[in-house]
């Protein structure tokens, strides 16, 4: 389980700050919601969800993601994974709720669900119309409700505004991925339905194999890298989720987004 070497075969510029990187390894066979540890040689290793069987969709936010952005087709990466628990598909009418690059694993989930004949509805929020990714992909899956913070496309405002257009009882299961405060907001508003919600949680991962403790969440000490990143929303109601998160040193800081 050293990082397996892969080569980048294609890079798709989704927006000015988001790229989809497709690589040549077909043997990973990930479930939607699982992630990989991506080694950018000589730089760093970071967790990335699969946005397809052999691709990731990356937002440039710091050193490692910017280094990923500098790579070209033909360049190499090291990948470990797939790791963690993916989304589990339940029932025949599902709702995907995403924010920003959190749309990535949901698009992959939607593809798989659609292929199984499951009815897919998507609610996706972005900051502005330039930030929208996978619009066509979600539209192909079924109904898509878009929100933008600045109102440049779709419903103006936060993702949570979109919730008002939807009846939670219609869905057999609800899948969420996005900035933590957005996920927290959605879960809080639809708390009565938390039993059928699954969220992909983002924490600081160092090892990815459940040993270092950097991703552990209060109050149970759950290892997000192993027992997550997809976690039933009922387990997120009490504790640190939405309140704080630990950084690389283990210090507590504000949750993101």
């Amino acid at each position: 389980m050293r990082p397996s070497p892969v080569r980048i075969v294609e890079i798709i510029e989704e927006t000015s700050t988001v790229k989809t990187i497709r690589f040549d390894s077909a043997r990973l066979d990930p479930l939607p919601g699982q992630y990989m540890m991506v080694w950018i040689r000589g730089v760093d290793e970071i967790p990335m969800s699969f946005s397809g069987p052999s691709e990731m969709t990356v937002a440039a936010v710091g050193e490692a993601t910017r280094a990923l952005f500098r790579l070209r087709p033909g360049d190499g990466l090291g990948l470990r994974g797939p790791y963690g628990n993916g989304f589990s598909l339940i029932g025949d009418r599902i709702l995907l709720i995403g924010g920003g690059v959190g749309a990535a694993p949901l698009a992959f989930l939607g593809d798989v669900a659609r292929h199984k004949g499951i009815e897919v509805t998507s609610l996706m929020g972005f900051r502005c119309s330039e930030d929208i990714i996978f619009k066509r992909r979600f539209e192909r899956l079924g109904e898509l409700i878009l929100t933008t913070d600045d109102g440049s496309s779709g419903i103006p405002g936060r993702v949570s505004l979109g919730l008002e257009r939807l009846d939670p009882d219609r869905f057999s299961q609800i899948y969420i991925c996005g900035p933590e405060l957005m996920m927290w907001d959605v879960i809080e508003r639809w708390k009565d339905h938390a039993g059928k919600m699954q969220a992909s949680v983002n924490r600081h991962f160092k090892c990815g194999i459940g040993i270092c403790g950097s991703c552990c969440m209060d109050p149970t000490g759950i290892r997000v890298c192993q027992e997550g990143p997809v976690i039933p929303a009922v387990q997120l109601l009490e504790g640190e989720f939405g309140r704080y998160r630990r950084g690389p040193s283990g210090s507590r800081g504000p949750p993101r987004g």
Binding site: M1, R2, P3, P5, M37, W39, R41, G42, V43, D44, E45, I46, A64, G76, G78, R80, K206, C207, G208, I209, G210, I211, C212, G213, S214, C216, M217, D218, P219, T220, G221, R223, R246, G247, P248, S249, G250, S251, R252
Partner: protein, 299 residues
Amino acid sequence: MATLRGDVGGLELENPVMLAAGILGTTGASLRRAALAGAGAVVTKSIGIEPRDGHPGPGIVHLGVGLLNAMGLPNPSYREFQEEIDIGRTGGSPVVASIFGSSPEEFVEVAGGLDADAFELNLSCPHAQGYGAEIGCHPGDVEEITRAVVREKSVPVWVKLTPNVADIVALGLSAERGGATAVVAINTIKAMAIDVESGYPILGNRVGGLSGPAIKPVAVRCVYDLHSALSIPVIGVGGISCWQDAVEMIMAGASGVQVGSALSGGLDILKSISNGISRYLDRKGMALADLSGLAGRQR
């Protein structure tokens, strides 16, 4: 079932199987979880003076024979850590604070700033400049730092030793002279892995420390040698992944054991190891004390 209760390095433990330093020891909730999962004691991530983010990734590589890591002692500093220890204690097992520093003064500052059931001095981390094994390979420094912390605290002080020396027994004797309640052996062995496709060292820090099954025979040897030469107890750590490994380590001379890398298989391993030891003792009609150091007596 045979009782495993007893004194290990000055702590009265329900069982001698502990969580090793740096393994799931970053948060109080995680320490508590390990205690509830059956750890007789839990050791925290090593804590220092200032917050450290640790080395760039990869911080860990799973090799077939064990783990290679260079986390770089990430920690939020002792100033932010007391709360985690307190939460950890709610698990019902003693919490041992692993601490590091670059001088006796730093060790004393960190120990002085924390309230824990015991302290484990990390004089053995092989991949952080100016800390750990860089100091811990000099018997004089080991003695001085041990003495300083022992003077400061009234709880047991354990000294964790590095195997990256010609003579680990000399380090153990220094710890003993410094007043340590017990020594802990071993920390990881200096090692490296290179990506065959690209030629890059895999770890962000290039070099790191080897743990897991690969180092168990080395740890058994160190514990055996230390137990033969020291009068204070030895706590064995390195590559323990099943009850047989723990029994082997205890036979080598350990009074208690710590489990690290094997936790990557899940926390159940803790209970499964202590249950295994109990059943073994039942089968043999032995007590834990009979087992400890048996290898030295079999001739």
